[in-house]
């Protein structure tokens, strides 16, 4: 058996393990696994509207994963990604609130708002970077702290300065007028602009990491900072750029959540896409080429399981169980595979 076939085999085993595990959970919950999987499929791909919904969920997840690929290339765990999405949402909302009653063309306002979102995410990420590079705070701890601060900031805004006329509520700020929604396709909720943004982003980053000096230097810094320094690469600058770019994409995701999905700022504006993006990144072993299909698959699971509470009285967090099980079983299989490859190399020699 050669290594490529083996990779395929291990991936298949990982998927089977995850399915078996999830089925087991379903049986425990008293539901039929086959029915559940059928409804997930039907609920996500059963009609054009559903497919459009999948794509709506796909775009922010794809943007977040795109950003994370950059920090992972530099050997960084950008746990602050959640907060960066949130800040993107906040900045976008802020600009929309400032300009919504102005005479400016709606298209221009939207553009400025989305750009502001990108800026907000980038700022929040750079903050984590500054803490790491100049303050010696590990990016995992710094990021986690900044995540909490970002959520607290959202809540304060929603219940304080930006509260709805009358009383603030968990349902978020006052929705923006329809003219400030990203235009959607037909009767669906899908915005072609957002879709385009997502696809262009991942394509750009794929190219950035595989074909440019910047990407190569980033990898060198990530793999061996000391050697990179001796090769003349300014490590600090590259680490900061990685944070900045990663935050930029996270901020775009937040901006899309506000302008294309919720049309207002809500407390859970990130929808947990940051964590999900981290999971996807691990699942695809940080390889850009897999980001688009795997995030799409995760979006399918998310949208498909929305139906479950209604038809099967199951919690919709089932998609989370399946996704988590997938990541774990893939990591497990990666471990097994590594041992196997080591042995294979020892026995056959590497070509």
């Amino acid at each position: 058996m050669n290594e490529r076939n083996a990779n395929l085999l291990f991936a298949t085993i990982a998927i089977l393990v995850a399915l078996v595990f999830t089925s087991f959970v379903l049986v425990l919950a008293g539901a039929s696994p086959v029915a559940a999987y059928w409804y997930i499929l039907k609920g996500s791909l059963g009609s054009w509207t559903k497919v459009a919904d999948v794509l709506v969920a796909w775009v922010p997840l794809l943007l977040v994963t795109t950003g994370l690929l950059i920090t992972f290339a530099a050997g960084l765990w950008n746990i602050g990604i959640e907060g960066q999405i949130v800040l993107g949402g906040i900045f976008t909302t802020w600009v929309l609130r400032l300009l919504q009653h102005s005479a400016m063309a709606p298209g221009l306002i939207l553009f400025l708002a989305i750009a502001a979102g990108a800026l907000g995410g980038a700022l929040w990420a750079v903050l984590a970077g500054v803490l790491k590079v100049y303050g010696g705070v590990n990016e995992i701890f710094g990021g986690l702290g900044l995540d909490f601060v970002a959520v607290a900031l959202t809540l304060w805004l929603i219940f304080g300065p930006w509260k709805r006329p009358g009383i603030g509520s968990m349902s978020g700020t006052e929705p923006f007028p329809e003219s400030l929604w990203l235009p959607t396709l037909g009767h669906t909720r899908l915005s072609l602009w957002a879709l385009l943004l997502g696809i262009v982003s991942i394509a750009l980053v794929y190219f950035l990491l595989s074909g440019t000096y910047f990407g190569l230097k980033l990898k060198a810094v990530g793999k061996n900072p000391r050697a990179a320094y001796l090769l003349g690469i300014p490590a600090t600058r590259y680490l900061m750029s990685a944070f900045l770019l990663s935050g930029l994409f996270a901020g775009l995701a937040g901006a899309v959540q506000v302008t294309a999905v919720y049309h207002r700022l809500i407390p859970a504006i990130s929808s947990g896409y940051g964590w999900l993006g981290l999971m996807v990144s691990m699942l695809i072993n940080f390889q850009p080429a897999w980001a688009a299909p795997v995030t799409l698959f995760f979006a399918i699971l998310n949208i498909g399981s929305i139906q479950l509470p209604i038809v099967l009285q199951l919690d919709s967090s089932l998609s989370g169980v399946l996704q988590g099980a997938l990541v774990l079983s893939f990591l497990l299989m990666a471990g097994v595979r590594q041992k196997w490859v080591a042995r294979l190399r020892a026995e056959e020699g590497e070509a």
Binding site: L216, K223, R226, A346, E350
Partner: protein, 496 residues
């Protein structure tokens, strides 16, 4: 324990790294293994110690065939190996590292381990502090730790893959004493090297590999020229010194002082001129490395000034030095010199001047192929650098240096290179001195190398630096004495 290797074959893609090797090693002797870079020495030893599985062939211990799947397996059969590029766990304490691989349960017997470490250390004259951190140890001390560990785990056969590259003459003596002692106690010692003089003073017998094949064996008294011919298929000689005109000063150190947690060197005054080669001699850890690093801007001096080509670069970073045409070649190849997982081609891209934003892969591939040829690297452009043999990693490091450098600072420039390659590397370095007017400032633990290739020599003794000694009039004996601290006169005393 008697080891028999029978008809061992091993290929890596198109490379036949071991080609039908049959070798017997009885116990109680030191078996030498000689061969040029990429001859297949490490591969053979990795097969014997369970890292690689041979494509075909058999390993026997005391007459019965064995099969091993991992180094841990090998250790169960009593075979342990010290690797060419030390594989240890730097952020640990010595004692914890000592206990790595100990097969018992969750509560390893720390007390016992401490006692065992002390006993082995005493027995072999090692100086290991169980509570020190491994990353503060010198390469020589790391080796001692590794020997102690393998012995404690019950190794009967100990394999040393080029253990003398990067350690001082002193440490080499104590290592050799330890090896002789191991052999006397009935252990089997296999000693991999390129250096004939080491074979001569240490080995009871020697086997020579060339291009994957066993080309001959010999016993004392050795015919050294014959061994060289076996290794390279031809005679090799060092060539004579050709004098080079020196130009204007490139590097000036003015009353420089450098300090770290271990020692302080001070009052260094030196002028290195275009085309000149300065060698730094001394026991490992006597301050050579600190001075070299300071001259590259990697360590900030606590006093004094550093000038490069008439520019005061004191307190500037390495990248400022780099822009002035200074380059630094570190000794630890995989820790500081190269980026593991990146390919040779990617290294070439990184080392070249950046042109535009997008990488031209085709051009890079051609460039890499050219360098592989010029530097005679056995490897392919797209393979990750860590798959190169030790000597070839060193060549790769040298192949990455830009042309037209003003000052080249090197830790152990020929570490791990066979004689022929070392001679060749120095001929290219000297060519830089002659044609590009590069000045070279290097440290080495090989006194012959220092004497032969330097124009002037600085000797270091526990943080003190001698006045520059003209190499032409110096002898190995004289340097040896100075390194040990006898007849030592510092530059400071001499000038005052």
């Amino acid at each position: 324990m008697e080891i028999e290797l029978r008809h061992i074959h091993k290929t890596f893609g198109p490379v036949h790294a071991n080609n039908d090797i049959t070798l017997n090693v009885p116990s109680g002797i030191i078996q030498g293994l000689l061969g040029e870079n990429g001859a297949g020495k490490s591969t053979l030893m990795k097969i014997l110690s369970g890292y690689f599985h041979p494509d075909s062939g058999e390993i026997r211990i005391n007459g019965s065939p064995i099969v091993m799947h991992s180094p841990a397996d090998a250790l169960r059969f009593g075979i342990g190996m010290l690797h060419q590029d030390p594989m240890d766990f730097p952020p640990m304490r010595v004692l914890d590292n000592f206990m790595v691989g100990y097969p018992q349960g969750l509560h390893p017997p720390r007390k016992e381990a401490r006692a065992a470490l002390k006993k082995i250390s005493d027995q072999f004259g090692f100086s290991l502090d169980p509570d020190a951190y491994v990353d503060t140890l010198t390469i020589g001390e790391r080796q001692q730790l590794e020997i102690a560990r393998l012995l404690w785990l019950g190794a009967q056969v100990l394999i040393f893959d080029e253990p003398t590259t990067g350690i001082s003459a002193q440490q080499k003596d104590s290592l050799f004493a330890a090896l002789r002692r191991l052999a006397k106690e009935g252990k089997t010692v296999i000693f991999v090297t390129h250096k004939l003089e080491e074979v001569e003073i240490l080995c009871d017998r020697v086997a020579v590999l060339r291009a994957g094949k066993l080309v001959g064996t010999a016993t004392p008294p050795y015919d050294l020229d014959g061994l060289v011919r076996m290794m390279f298929g031809k005679a090799v000689s060092k060539g004579k010194r050709t004098p080079i005109e020196f130009g204007k000063p490139v590097l000036q150190l003015k009353n420089l002082a450098v300090e770290d947690s271990r020692l302080r060197i001070e009052g260094v005054n030196l002028e290195v001129r275009e085309g000149e080669v300065i060698g730094l001699a001394g026991m490992e850890g006597s301050g050579q490395r600190q001075l070299l690093r300071a001259a590259a801007g990697l360590v900030r001096p606590v006093e004094g000034e550093i000038w490069v080509d008439g520019h005061n670069l004191t307190g500037k970073t390495y990248h400022d030095f780099l822009r002035r045409g200074v380059a630094y070649v570190p000794a630890s190849r995989l820790e500081e010199g190269l980026v593991p997982t990146l390919s040779l081609m990617e290294h070439v891209i990184l080392a070249n001047e950046q042109r535009g934003l997008v990488i031209d892969r085709q051009a890079a591939l051609e460039d890499t192929r050219k360098r592989i040829q010029t530097f005679n690297i056995r490897g392919r452009p797209l393979l990750p650098v860590e798959s190169l043999s030790g000597g070839n990693q060193q060549r790769a490091l040298l192949a990455l240096l830009r042309p037209g450098l003003r000052l080249l600072l090197m830790e152990h420039p020929t570490r791990g290179l066979d004689i022929e390659s070392a001679i060749w590397v120095w001929s290219t370095l000297k060519q830089r001195c002659r044609e590009e007017r590069t000045a070279i400032f290097f440290m080495s633990s090989d006194l012959e190398e220092i004497l032969h290739y330097s124009d002037r020599i600085l000797v270091f003794f526990s943080g003190q630096v001698s006045e520059p000694i003209p190499a032409e009039s110096a002898t190995t004996e004289q340097l040896g004495q100075l390194i040990g601290g006898r007849g030592f006169k510092t530059g400071k005393e001499a000038s005052s």
